[in-house]
């Protein structure tokens, strides 16, 4: 299965953060690369959602949903700035 991109996590992230997040800029805690969330690699077909750095494939974020609770791990993200810009 090929990966999806951060666009596919837009709904889930908006559910968690309360705002549109696919235009946010994340910085990878492993390689330091900064990317728009929409351009990260995302894997949704496993037991949880996994977002990875498009440069080094380090895990940026994992979300596991259990009923209406989310378990969110963002250890792989050094910074996340929602001040992204649209076209």
């Amino acid at each position: 299965m090929d990966d999806l991109d951060g666009n596919a996590m837009g709904g889930l992230m908006q559910e968690i953060f309360g705002v549109e997040m696919t235009t946010a800029i994340e910085t990878c805690a492993h390689c330091g690369n900064a990317a728009v969330v929409a351009e990260t690699a995302v894997y949704l077909r496993g037991p949880g959602a996994v977002m990875r750095c498009p440069t080094c494939t380090n895990i940026l974020m994992v979300v596991v949903r259990r009923q209406d609770m989310h378990c969110v791990d963002m250890q792989g993200i050094a910074s996340l700035s929602p001040a992204g810009q649209t076209a």
């Binding site: 705002v19 728009v36 351009e39």
Partner: protein, 248 residues
């Protein structure tokens, strides 16, 4: 039209299916009446949630096919090993309820405010759906932004929105490439999109176009890296991947 996307808490709402339109043998457009819909931008998605009688649920994200201001519509391709797409394309009937939430996303959008920058739209298969929303929005706005759409499909019969695309007016060039089967006498492009096809078809980099690329992951990777190789700055290549064959 700008700024009509309402941000904030995403909540599920019940819409009603008003019409189902056959686009190709495996693709349908689903038109919805969504009383609580707050509007969307061209290129955004929505999430669909299905609930079985025993409570089992499945959720998927789809691009919105209609333009801002139009009733919400989805265009869905039936995937053979899918769970949600066979239901949406085969089981759903007008009058049925469909639970949706959205709009979602703010990256792969075109708001129409910029009336100068040319658009290079590149679609693989059903990746044309959000680009169709952009084209309709441009048309509704009577925008004169020059647009080229390069659309890769297996065959002419697999081209979604063909009648509509063939009627696009001044300022919109639609270029097909057929990868598997070409009709007799086909003079258009054939084969997969690659760098040499893009160098012929895409706006030259000095036009400072903005590219929107949507399709299966390998398609998007090839097209995006080719555009960058041709001189498009990476931040002017917006991409949306929907996985491989057999997403859901």
């Amino acid at each position: 039209m700008a700024g009509t996307a309402v941000r904030g808490r995403l909540t599920w709402q019940v819409s009603a299916v008003t019409a189902l339109i056959d686009e190709t043998a495996s693709v349908k457009t689903i038109e919805l009446q969504a009383p609580d819909w707050a509007g969307h931008l061209a290129g955004q998605h929505l999430d669909v949630r299905l609930t079985a009688e025993d409570g089992y649920r499945a959720e998927r994200s789809y691009s919105i096919a209609s333009a801002p201001g139009e009733p919400v519509a989805l265009t869905v391709e039936r995937l053979e090993d899918g769970e949600v797409s066979p239901y949406l394309t085969e089981e759903l009937r007008p009058g049925d309820d469909l639970e949706i939430r959205g709009p979602v996303g703010g990256y792969f959008v075109w708001d129409g405010d910029d009336s100068v920058t040319p658009l290079m739209l590149i679609a693989g298969g059903s990746g044309v759906v959000p680009l169709r929303s952009i084209l309709r929005h441009r048309s509704n706005l009577r925008s004169t932004v020059p647009v080229r759409l390069l659309y890769s499909a297996r065959s002419l019969a697999d081209v979604i929105y063909r009648d509509e695309l063939d009627q696009e007016g001044a300022g919109v060039e639609v270029i097909y490439t057929l990868t598997r089967q070409q009709p007799q006498g086909w003079t258009g492009h054939r084969g997969r999109v690659d760098k040499s096809m893009l160098s012929e078809v895409a706006w030259p980099p000095d036009q400072q176009a903005i590219a929107y690329v949507c399709g299966p992951t390998p398609f998007v990777e090839t097209v995006a890296s080719s555009l960058v190789g041709l001189g498009y700055p990476a931040q002017r290549v917006k991409t949306e991947r929907f996985g491989g064959i057999g997403g859901s």
